[in-house]
Chain length 341, copies 2
């Protein structure tokens, strides 16, 4: 949990994070929380004790996910403003909760900072992270701080809830199920490709929203789960080819995808559709990839997000991609490799 | 959650961790768990999905804690064998659960490894961590992996449970309460001091058990909570002076401690009591520091661990140390500063 083994400035920072994490009008000693869906606070004891104490709604199960955001692996300080790093850090965790059809409850942040990092950077990072958390009714309930020997190191933990037995797993897909994806794919990878190509040029954050400000599909995941539509679900954090392979592996099935059907993101100015390779293999779009029985009607838009059928599940444990000419080839998982320094 | 954005060897490692984490005789698809206290498995879905799904026993609340173990900050590869790093990594989290009087349920490991790290090191680390987890009925339910740009980076998350409203907080101490500590203090810091003094000499792990193999006081914490003894509790991870300051700060009280009463660890061969400075300020002993009302009798031994009264809580918000001659001076929190590379 938050400890104090860091220089005094960090101790002050923890106190500041604690204040930022506290919803306005709530007493310090009463714990720090607010929930949108449940009327009672979910985090009974937050930052300032050995553990956070969380209330679990009756007849619910808990969801837990952890995700690193490491400088030089998941972000670069010269490419990603502090706000973007904070936003993307929490999105990684929230998106995992969305992929289970869950509702996020609390986040925990382990944060190791190099000695020479400016307090301004940390404030902007934390402010963006807590801002996104509040947007989803999530309390920052604790974490850990340390001095980092090299680079900024963050690990985000998100805890959520789901009604008993209702979590949407990766393992439920059956042959004949249809495959759907939310939003558009490849937008995040296209931004990375641009930055790699021209490392000195600053990209316009608004022209690449899926890279710089990805929105976790929490509401969509919840609605899908409530309607009992998905037989299996995963978020597209590693890229379609890799994430579909995960889903198929856990379900013990294969898939056939039509390249023409895959919704591609538009990026840049003037906006142009990304290359199919980005949509197939580019990660960090944080869209939802799910399967549904052929007997169920899936709307073309849910929670304000377009839903596109891109293929179907097969018994044969291979993943095939059908091109424009109707020719099938095997789709190898070539999920996004994180950029190096 | 466990993702596959690492070289193939790491993918194989995740599969291996998944096998290691699975209790023998359990089917792969049924989820991976076993609990000591609750008959039904607590981790319904573990490694291999976007989130772990955890069952929460009825009328219980959840505890969550996160703790970094960073190379060069919390351990050094030349001082700490891989097994020791794995053991200490999980102990940090388990000890936080103990300090709430909770029972650990599941652990999650975010692990970033440098490209050149030997698979043997990782196996020994993981084996020790999972071994300790199983000893406490804890399932490794997931985590994240990444390639580290510099050094080994681990973040351990432990999730536990406690009966509703029964978590022992830091904030419950009142003036007049007595202050107790379990076991002996300073043993861990004494080992660090030895290694710093003679960096080339390998210490005998068995002569410094509290540093190399600290035992989290899970059973003691649970028994204390069941008996309703502690008004406040914390673990001694940062050192007595700092941890007592945390407890007093959260409770809005002060304390008076008698130096002569503080139980000091014996280390080395022949075994010798550590200097009082180690017992006062040395961290990472992972003992329990708690307060209890003066009206309650506290046994001198519980769960096989000696319990020693070292002082009492005062209304005046200062922490005083009384020496052998009866002279009081203010005890400044000088908790353990982690060693640098």
């Amino acid at each position: 949990m938050i400890s104090f083994d860091v220089p005094l400035a960090e101790k002050a920072l923890i106190a500041e994070i604690r204040r930022m994490a506290m919803p306005s009008g709530q007493r310090r000693r009463a714990g720090i929380s607010v929930r949108i869906t449940h009327s009672a606070p979910a985090v009974l004891t937050g930052i300032g004790d050995d553990c956070a104490v969380l209330r679990v709604p009756p007849d619910h199960q808990m969801l837990v996910t952890t995700d690193f955001s490491l400088e030089g692996v998941h972000f670069r300080r010269d490419w990603h403003p502090a706000e973007v790093v904070g936003h993307r850090c929490l999105t990684r965790g929230l998106s995992d909760i969305a992929a289970m059809g869950g509702e996020p409850l609390a986040a925990f942040l382990s944060l190791a900072l190099p000695r020479d990092l400016s307090q301004t950077w940390v404030r902007r990072f934390t402010h963006a992270l807590i801002g996104l958390a509040k947007q989803f009714g999530v309390t920052l309930g604790g974490g850990d701080t340390a001095e980092s020997p090299n680079g900024i190191l963050a690990d985000i933990i998100v805890v959520g809830t789901v009604p008993k037995g209702k979590a949407v797993l990766r393992s439920g897909a059956s042959a004949g199920d249809r495959i759907f994806v939310s939003g558009q794919l490849g937008g995040s990878a296209a931004a990375l490709w641009q930055m790699r190509k021209k490392p000195k040029t600053k990209l316009n954050v608004r022209e690449y929203p899926r890279h710089f400000r990805p929105q976790p599909r929490i509401e969509l995941g919840r609605i899908l789960r409530e309607r009992g539509l998905p037989s299996a679900m995963i978020d597209t954090s590693d890229g379609l080819s890799t994430d579909l392979a995960h889903l198929c592996e856990e379900s013990g099935v294969g898939a056939e995808v039509e390249a023409e059907l895959i919704p591609r993101a538009s990026v840049g100015k003037p906006a142009r559709e990304v290359d199919i390779e980005f949509a197939l293999h580019g990660g960090e779009d944080y869209e939802l990839l799910f399967t549904a029985p052929a007997t169920r009607r899936v709307p073309s838009r849910m929670a304000g997000v377009p839903i596109t059928q891109i293929g179907h599940i097969t018994r044969r444990r291979k993943i095939l991609l059908m091109d424009r000419a109707g020719i099938r080839r095997e789709l190898q998982p070539r999920g996004w490799e994180h950029f190096r320094r």
